[in-house]
Amino acid sequence: MTMTRLAFAALAALALASAAAADPAPIPVTLKNHQFTPNLIKVPANEPVVLNVTNADSLAEEFDSTPLKVEKVIAGGQSGLVRIHPLRPGRYAFTGEYHSATAQGVVVAQ
Protein backbone atom coordinates (compact mmCIF):
# COMPACT_ATOMS: atom_id res chain seq x y z
CA MET A 1 0.00 0.00 0.00
CA THR A 2 2.82 2.38 -0.78
CA MET A 3 0.45 4.50 -2.83
CA THR A 4 -1.95 4.86 0.08
CA ARG A 5 0.83 5.79 2.47
CA LEU A 6 2.18 8.33 0.02
CA ALA A 7 -1.27 9.85 -0.37
CA PHE A 8 -1.61 10.18 3.39
CA ALA A 9 1.85 11.72 3.70
CA ALA A 10 1.10 14.19 0.93
CA LEU A 11 -2.20 15.15 2.55
CA ALA A 12 -0.56 15.62 5.94
CA ALA A 13 2.20 17.76 4.45
CA LEU A 14 -0.30 19.87 2.56
CA ALA A 15 -2.44 20.25 5.67
CA LEU A 16 0.50 21.53 7.66
CA ALA A 17 1.47 23.89 4.85
CA SER A 18 -2.07 25.22 4.64
CA ALA A 19 -2.10 25.88 8.37
CA ALA A 20 0.39 28.64 7.65
CA ALA A 21 -2.07 30.35 5.33
CA ALA A 22 -4.20 32.47 7.62
CA ASP A 23 -7.90 31.73 7.85
CA PRO A 24 -10.21 34.74 8.11
CA ALA A 25 -11.50 35.42 11.63
CA PRO A 26 -14.20 32.80 12.36
CA ILE A 27 -17.80 33.90 12.78
CA PRO A 28 -19.29 32.27 15.88
CA VAL A 29 -22.48 30.25 15.45
CA THR A 30 -24.09 28.24 18.22
CA LEU A 31 -26.40 25.27 17.97
CA LYS A 32 -28.59 24.78 21.03
CA ASN A 33 -31.82 22.82 21.38
CA HIS A 34 -31.30 21.97 17.71
CA GLN A 35 -31.53 25.62 16.65
CA PHE A 36 -28.81 27.82 15.20
CA THR A 37 -28.02 31.23 16.68
CA PRO A 38 -27.74 33.36 14.67
CA ASN A 39 -29.75 31.60 12.01
CA LEU A 40 -29.17 34.40 9.53
CA ILE A 41 -25.48 34.98 8.96
CA LYS A 42 -24.41 37.93 6.85
CA VAL A 43 -21.04 37.55 5.19
CA PRO A 44 -19.16 39.61 2.60
CA ALA A 45 -19.52 38.30 -0.95
CA ASN A 46 -16.51 37.05 -2.94
CA GLU A 47 -14.40 36.44 0.16
CA PRO A 48 -13.61 33.21 1.96
CA VAL A 49 -15.45 32.93 5.27
CA VAL A 50 -15.04 30.63 8.24
CA LEU A 51 -17.83 29.79 10.67
CA ASN A 52 -16.96 28.45 14.09
CA VAL A 53 -19.98 26.31 14.87
CA THR A 54 -20.36 25.32 18.51
CA ASN A 55 -22.68 22.43 19.16
CA ALA A 56 -24.04 23.17 22.64
CA ASP A 57 -26.33 20.15 22.49
CA SER A 58 -25.18 16.83 23.84
CA LEU A 59 -25.80 15.02 20.55
CA ALA A 60 -23.76 15.14 17.38
CA GLU A 61 -25.08 17.15 14.47
CA GLU A 62 -24.15 17.37 10.83
CA PHE A 63 -23.83 20.89 9.47
CA ASP A 64 -25.05 20.34 5.96
CA SER A 65 -25.47 22.61 2.96
CA THR A 66 -25.48 21.61 -0.68
CA PRO A 67 -25.24 25.20 -2.03
CA LEU A 68 -22.33 25.95 0.33
CA LYS A 69 -20.72 22.56 -0.47
CA VAL A 70 -20.28 21.76 3.21
CA GLU A 71 -20.95 18.59 5.17
CA LYS A 72 -19.42 18.48 8.60
CA VAL A 73 -20.21 16.41 11.64
CA ILE A 74 -19.82 18.29 14.91
CA ALA A 75 -19.81 16.12 18.02
CA GLY A 76 -21.96 17.07 21.00
CA GLY A 77 -20.39 19.79 23.14
CA GLN A 78 -17.70 20.52 20.54
CA SER A 79 -16.91 23.20 18.00
CA GLY A 80 -16.07 22.81 14.35
CA LEU A 81 -14.71 25.14 11.71
CA VAL A 82 -16.85 25.37 8.60
CA ARG A 83 -14.87 26.86 5.72
CA ILE A 84 -16.94 28.52 3.04
CA HIS A 85 -15.58 29.38 -0.39
CA PRO A 86 -16.01 32.92 -1.77
CA LEU A 87 -19.72 33.30 -2.49
CA ARG A 88 -21.57 35.23 -5.13
CA PRO A 89 -24.16 37.56 -3.58
CA GLY A 90 -27.19 35.53 -2.59
CA ARG A 91 -28.85 33.36 0.04
CA TYR A 92 -27.45 29.94 0.91
CA ALA A 93 -29.51 27.67 3.16
CA PHE A 94 -27.96 25.24 5.63
CA THR A 95 -29.41 22.67 8.04
CA GLY A 96 -28.44 20.41 10.87
CA GLU A 97 -29.16 17.21 9.02
CA TYR A 98 -30.05 15.11 12.05
CA HIS A 99 -32.65 17.61 13.29
CA SER A 100 -33.54 19.42 10.10
CA ALA A 101 -37.05 20.31 11.31
CA THR A 102 -35.64 22.95 13.67
CA ALA A 103 -31.94 23.26 12.86
CA GLN A 104 -32.11 25.63 9.91
CA GLY A 105 -30.30 28.74 8.89
CA VAL A 106 -29.17 30.81 5.96
CA VAL A 107 -25.93 32.49 4.95
CA VAL A 108 -26.49 35.78 3.15
CA ALA A 109 -23.59 36.95 1.03
CA GLN A 110 -23.71 40.61 0.09
Binding site: L11, A21, A60, T66, V73, Q78, E97, Y98
Partner: protein, 281 residues
Protein backbone atom coordinates in the same frame (compact mmCIF):
# COMPACT_ATOMS: atom_id res chain seq x y z
CA UNK B 1 -40.60 7.76 12.40
CA UNK B 2 -40.85 8.69 8.74
CA UNK B 3 -38.04 11.22 9.09
CA UNK B 4 -35.77 8.61 10.64
CA UNK B 5 -36.69 6.08 7.99
CA UNK B 6 -35.81 8.53 5.23
CA UNK B 7 -32.43 9.53 6.62
CA UNK B 8 -31.35 5.96 7.33
CA UNK B 9 -32.72 4.71 4.00
CA UNK B 10 -30.76 7.40 2.18
CA UNK B 11 -27.45 6.53 3.78
CA UNK B 12 -27.97 2.77 3.44
CA UNK B 13 -28.85 2.94 -0.23
CA UNK B 14 -25.87 5.17 -0.96
CA UNK B 15 -23.56 2.51 0.46
CA UNK B 16 -25.74 -0.30 -0.92
CA UNK B 17 -25.48 0.89 -4.52
CA UNK B 18 -21.71 0.73 -4.31
CA UNK B 19 -21.79 -2.74 -2.73
CA UNK B 20 -24.19 -3.88 -5.49
CA UNK B 21 -21.89 -2.65 -8.24
CA UNK B 22 -18.89 -4.31 -6.60
CA UNK B 23 -20.78 -7.59 -6.29
CA UNK B 24 -21.85 -7.45 -9.94
CA UNK B 25 -18.33 -6.53 -11.04
CA UNK B 26 -16.79 -9.49 -9.22
CA UNK B 27 -19.35 -12.05 -10.34
CA UNK B 28 -17.68 -15.38 -10.91
CA UNK B 29 -14.52 -14.55 -8.98
CA UNK B 30 -13.93 -17.23 -6.36
CA UNK B 31 -14.25 -16.12 -2.74
CA UNK B 32 -15.80 -12.74 -3.44
CA UNK B 33 -18.67 -13.26 -0.98
CA UNK B 34 -16.19 -13.61 1.85
CA UNK B 35 -14.18 -10.57 0.79
CA UNK B 36 -17.22 -8.36 0.36
CA UNK B 37 -18.50 -9.53 3.76
CA UNK B 38 -15.13 -8.59 5.26
CA UNK B 39 -15.49 -5.20 3.61
CA UNK B 40 -18.97 -4.64 5.03
CA UNK B 41 -17.96 -5.84 8.50
CA UNK B 42 -14.82 -3.69 8.46
CA UNK B 43 -16.90 -0.73 7.30
CA UNK B 44 -19.40 -1.19 10.14
CA UNK B 45 -16.63 -1.40 12.75
CA UNK B 46 -14.92 1.61 11.15
CA UNK B 47 -18.20 3.54 11.13
CA UNK B 48 -18.65 2.98 14.87
CA UNK B 49 -15.05 4.05 15.52
CA UNK B 50 -15.41 7.18 13.38
CA UNK B 51 -18.69 8.02 15.12
CA UNK B 52 -17.18 7.45 18.57
CA UNK B 53 -14.13 9.57 17.85
CA UNK B 54 -15.82 12.17 15.62
CA UNK B 55 -14.76 14.97 17.95
CA UNK B 56 -11.11 13.93 18.14
CA UNK B 57 -10.95 13.35 14.38
CA UNK B 58 -12.40 16.77 13.62
CA UNK B 59 -9.87 18.49 15.88
CA UNK B 60 -6.88 17.23 13.84
CA UNK B 61 -5.12 19.45 11.29
CA UNK B 62 -6.42 22.81 12.54
CA UNK B 63 -9.99 21.56 12.57
CA UNK B 64 -9.80 20.09 9.08
CA UNK B 65 -9.26 16.49 10.24
CA UNK B 66 -12.70 15.27 9.25
CA UNK B 67 -12.54 16.78 5.76
CA UNK B 68 -9.04 15.40 5.14
CA UNK B 69 -10.07 11.99 6.42
CA UNK B 70 -13.06 11.97 4.07
CA UNK B 71 -10.92 13.08 1.13
CA UNK B 72 -8.27 10.47 1.93
CA UNK B 73 -10.62 7.51 2.13
CA UNK B 74 -12.45 8.65 -1.01
CA UNK B 75 -9.15 8.83 -2.89
CA UNK B 76 -8.19 5.38 -1.60
CA UNK B 77 -11.48 4.09 -3.00
CA UNK B 78 -10.70 5.76 -6.34
CA UNK B 79 -7.28 4.05 -6.40
CA UNK B 80 -8.84 0.66 -5.59
CA UNK B 81 -11.55 1.01 -8.25
CA UNK B 82 -8.90 1.96 -10.80
CA UNK B 83 -6.82 -1.04 -9.81
CA UNK B 84 -9.82 -3.33 -10.20
CA UNK B 85 -10.77 -2.03 -13.64
CA UNK B 86 -7.20 -2.21 -14.89
CA UNK B 87 -6.78 -5.72 -13.50
CA UNK B 88 -10.04 -6.82 -15.10
CA UNK B 89 -8.97 -5.30 -18.40
CA UNK B 90 -5.87 -7.50 -18.42
CA UNK B 91 -7.34 -10.69 -16.94
CA UNK B 92 -11.09 -10.51 -17.12
CA UNK B 93 -11.25 -11.77 -20.65
CA UNK B 94 -9.31 -14.94 -19.95
CA UNK B 95 -11.40 -15.51 -16.86
CA UNK B 96 -14.74 -15.17 -18.56
CA UNK B 97 -13.47 -17.30 -21.44
CA UNK B 98 -12.23 -20.17 -19.31
CA UNK B 99 -14.79 -19.68 -16.55
CA UNK B 100 -12.68 -21.51 -14.02
CA UNK B 101 -9.74 -19.50 -12.88
CA UNK B 102 -6.73 -21.42 -11.66
CA UNK B 103 -3.36 -20.91 -10.00
CA UNK B 104 -1.91 -17.45 -10.35
CA UNK B 105 -5.20 -16.11 -11.69
CA UNK B 106 -6.96 -16.96 -8.47
CA UNK B 107 -4.28 -15.25 -6.41
CA UNK B 108 -4.41 -12.21 -8.64
CA UNK B 109 -8.19 -12.33 -8.33
CA UNK B 110 -7.72 -12.33 -4.59
CA UNK B 111 -5.74 -9.13 -4.82
CA UNK B 112 -8.42 -7.47 -6.89
CA UNK B 113 -10.98 -8.68 -4.35
CA UNK B 114 -8.96 -7.08 -1.59
CA UNK B 115 -9.21 -3.80 -3.49
CA UNK B 116 -12.96 -4.23 -3.84
CA UNK B 117 -13.33 -5.15 -0.16
CA UNK B 118 -11.61 -1.85 0.65
CA UNK B 119 -14.06 0.00 -1.62
CA UNK B 120 -17.02 -1.65 0.11
CA UNK B 121 -15.47 -0.90 3.50
CA UNK B 122 -15.02 2.77 2.63
CA UNK B 123 -18.59 3.10 1.36
CA UNK B 124 -20.08 1.46 4.45
CA UNK B 125 -17.81 3.45 6.76
CA UNK B 126 -18.73 6.82 5.25
CA UNK B 127 -22.48 6.38 5.22
CA UNK B 128 -22.51 4.11 8.28
CA UNK B 129 -20.85 6.60 10.59
CA UNK B 130 -23.67 9.06 9.87
CA UNK B 131 -26.30 6.42 10.56
CA UNK B 132 -24.56 5.46 13.81
CA UNK B 133 -24.37 9.07 15.00
CA UNK B 134 -27.95 9.73 14.04
CA UNK B 135 -29.39 6.57 15.62
CA UNK B 136 -27.24 7.01 18.71
CA UNK B 137 -28.71 10.47 19.08
CA UNK B 138 -32.20 9.03 18.96
CA UNK B 139 -31.40 6.23 21.39
CA UNK B 140 -29.72 8.67 23.79
CA UNK B 141 -32.62 11.09 23.50
CA UNK B 142 -35.06 8.47 24.74
CA UNK B 143 -38.65 9.57 25.23
CA UNK B 144 -41.95 8.34 23.91
CA UNK B 145 -41.04 8.75 20.26
CA UNK B 146 -37.92 6.62 20.56
CA UNK B 147 -39.54 3.28 19.74
CA UNK B 148 -41.17 4.69 16.62
CA UNK B 149 -37.99 6.32 15.47
CA UNK B 150 -35.91 3.19 16.01
CA UNK B 151 -38.55 1.26 14.05
CA UNK B 152 -38.06 3.84 11.31
CA UNK B 153 -34.32 3.27 11.46
CA UNK B 154 -34.64 -0.49 11.12
CA UNK B 155 -37.16 -0.13 8.28
CA UNK B 156 -34.80 2.30 6.59
CA UNK B 157 -31.95 -0.22 6.72
CA UNK B 158 -34.17 -3.00 5.36
CA UNK B 159 -35.63 -0.84 2.60
CA UNK B 160 -32.23 0.49 1.56
CA UNK B 161 -30.70 -2.99 1.53
CA UNK B 162 -33.68 -4.37 -0.38
CA UNK B 163 -33.49 -1.74 -3.10
CA UNK B 164 -29.74 -2.22 -3.39
CA UNK B 165 -30.32 -5.96 -3.79
CA UNK B 166 -32.85 -5.25 -6.54
CA UNK B 167 -30.31 -3.13 -8.37
CA UNK B 168 -27.74 -5.90 -8.04
CA UNK B 169 -30.21 -8.44 -9.47
CA UNK B 170 -30.99 -5.99 -12.25
CA UNK B 171 -27.31 -5.82 -13.12
CA UNK B 172 -27.10 -9.62 -13.13
CA UNK B 173 -29.92 -9.71 -15.66
CA UNK B 174 -27.49 -8.16 -18.13
CA UNK B 175 -26.18 -10.95 -20.40
CA UNK B 176 -22.81 -12.24 -19.15
CA UNK B 177 -20.82 -10.98 -22.12
CA UNK B 178 -22.14 -7.44 -21.63
CA UNK B 179 -21.97 -7.44 -17.83
CA UNK B 180 -18.22 -6.91 -17.88
CA UNK B 181 -18.50 -3.81 -20.07
CA UNK B 182 -21.43 -2.53 -17.97
CA UNK B 183 -19.69 -2.90 -14.62
CA UNK B 184 -16.45 -1.47 -16.03
CA UNK B 185 -18.38 1.61 -17.13
CA UNK B 186 -20.23 1.89 -13.80
CA UNK B 187 -16.99 1.58 -11.84
CA UNK B 188 -15.30 4.21 -14.00
CA UNK B 189 -18.13 6.70 -13.35
CA UNK B 190 -18.26 5.73 -9.67
CA UNK B 191 -14.53 6.42 -9.28
CA UNK B 192 -14.83 9.74 -11.12
CA UNK B 193 -17.71 10.78 -8.86
CA UNK B 194 -15.79 9.86 -5.71
CA UNK B 195 -12.78 11.85 -6.94
CA UNK B 196 -15.01 14.88 -7.49
CA UNK B 197 -16.39 14.53 -3.94
CA UNK B 198 -12.84 14.21 -2.61
CA UNK B 199 -11.94 17.44 -4.43
CA UNK B 200 -14.82 19.21 -2.67
CA UNK B 201 -13.61 17.94 0.73
CA UNK B 202 -10.08 19.17 0.03
CA UNK B 203 -11.58 22.59 -0.69
CA UNK B 204 -13.75 22.43 2.42
CA UNK B 205 -10.60 21.63 4.40
CA UNK B 206 -9.09 24.86 3.09
CA UNK B 207 -6.30 22.85 1.48
CA UNK B 208 -7.10 23.88 -2.07
CA UNK B 209 -8.56 27.32 -2.46
CA UNK B 210 -8.60 27.64 -6.22
CA UNK B 211 -11.28 26.79 -8.77
CA UNK B 212 -14.05 27.08 -6.18
CA UNK B 213 -16.56 29.04 -8.22
CA UNK B 214 -19.50 26.96 -9.43
CA UNK B 215 -19.35 26.51 -13.22
CA UNK B 216 -23.05 26.00 -13.77
CA UNK B 217 -26.24 25.43 -11.82
CA UNK B 218 -28.62 22.63 -12.77
CA UNK B 219 -30.59 22.72 -9.50
CA UNK B 220 -33.57 23.94 -11.54
CA UNK B 221 -33.52 20.67 -13.50
CA UNK B 222 -32.46 18.22 -10.80
CA UNK B 223 -31.73 19.20 -7.22
CA UNK B 224 -28.74 17.45 -5.71
CA UNK B 225 -30.72 17.10 -2.46
CA UNK B 226 -33.57 15.21 -4.13
CA UNK B 227 -33.67 11.43 -3.94
CA UNK B 228 -32.70 11.02 -7.59
CA UNK B 229 -30.03 13.69 -7.21
CA UNK B 230 -28.51 11.84 -4.29
CA UNK B 231 -28.54 8.51 -6.11
CA UNK B 232 -26.84 10.07 -9.11
CA UNK B 233 -24.35 11.74 -6.78
CA UNK B 234 -23.42 8.31 -5.44
CA UNK B 235 -23.32 6.62 -8.84
CA UNK B 236 -21.66 9.25 -11.05
CA UNK B 237 -20.83 12.16 -8.75
CA UNK B 238 -23.74 14.36 -9.81
CA UNK B 239 -23.69 17.80 -8.25
CA UNK B 240 -25.98 20.63 -9.28
CA UNK B 241 -23.24 23.25 -8.91
CA UNK B 242 -19.89 21.68 -9.81
CA UNK B 243 -16.81 23.82 -9.50
CA UNK B 244 -13.67 23.76 -11.62
CA UNK B 245 -11.67 21.45 -9.38
CA UNK B 246 -14.50 18.93 -9.18
CA UNK B 247 -14.86 18.88 -12.96
CA UNK B 248 -11.11 18.48 -13.44
CA UNK B 249 -10.99 15.63 -10.92
CA UNK B 250 -13.94 13.91 -12.61
CA UNK B 251 -12.55 14.18 -16.14
CA UNK B 252 -9.02 13.28 -15.01
CA UNK B 253 -10.14 10.02 -13.39
CA UNK B 254 -12.20 8.96 -16.41
CA UNK B 255 -9.27 9.76 -18.73
CA UNK B 256 -6.77 7.98 -16.48
CA UNK B 257 -8.98 4.92 -16.19
CA UNK B 258 -9.57 4.62 -19.94
CA UNK B 259 -5.88 5.17 -20.74
CA UNK B 260 -4.64 2.59 -18.24
CA UNK B 261 -7.21 0.01 -19.35
CA UNK B 262 -6.25 0.54 -22.98
CA UNK B 263 -2.56 0.18 -22.13
CA UNK B 264 -2.88 -3.10 -20.22
CA UNK B 265 -5.41 -4.40 -22.70
CA UNK B 266 -2.92 -3.80 -25.49
CA UNK B 267 -0.10 -5.54 -23.69
CA UNK B 268 -2.34 -8.44 -22.70
CA UNK B 269 -3.27 -8.86 -26.35
CA UNK B 270 0.40 -8.93 -27.32
CA UNK B 271 1.12 -11.59 -24.72
CA UNK B 272 -1.77 -13.78 -25.83
CA UNK B 273 -2.49 -13.12 -29.49
CA UNK B 274 -4.86 -16.11 -29.67
CA UNK B 275 -7.38 -14.36 -27.46
CA UNK B 276 -10.63 -13.60 -29.22
CA UNK B 277 -11.08 -9.82 -29.38
CA UNK B 278 -13.90 -8.34 -27.29
CA UNK B 279 -16.80 -6.91 -29.23
CA UNK B 280 -16.44 -3.14 -29.51
CA UNK B 281 -17.69 -1.39 -26.39
Amino acid sequence: MLGTLLIVFREVIEAGLIVGIVLAATKGVAGRGLWVSFGVAGGVVGACLVAAFAGALAALFQGAGQELFNAAILLIAVAMLTWHNVWMASHGREMSRELKAVGAEVRAGGRSLLAMAVVVGVAVLREGSEVVLFLYGIAAGGGATMAGMLTGGVLGVLLGAGLSALMYLGLLAIPAHRLFAATTGLITLLAAGLASQAAAFLQQAGLITMLQTPLWDTSGVLKEDSMLGRLLKTLIGYTDQPNGLQLIAWVAVVAMMLTLMRLVNGSARQRAPSVVPQPAE
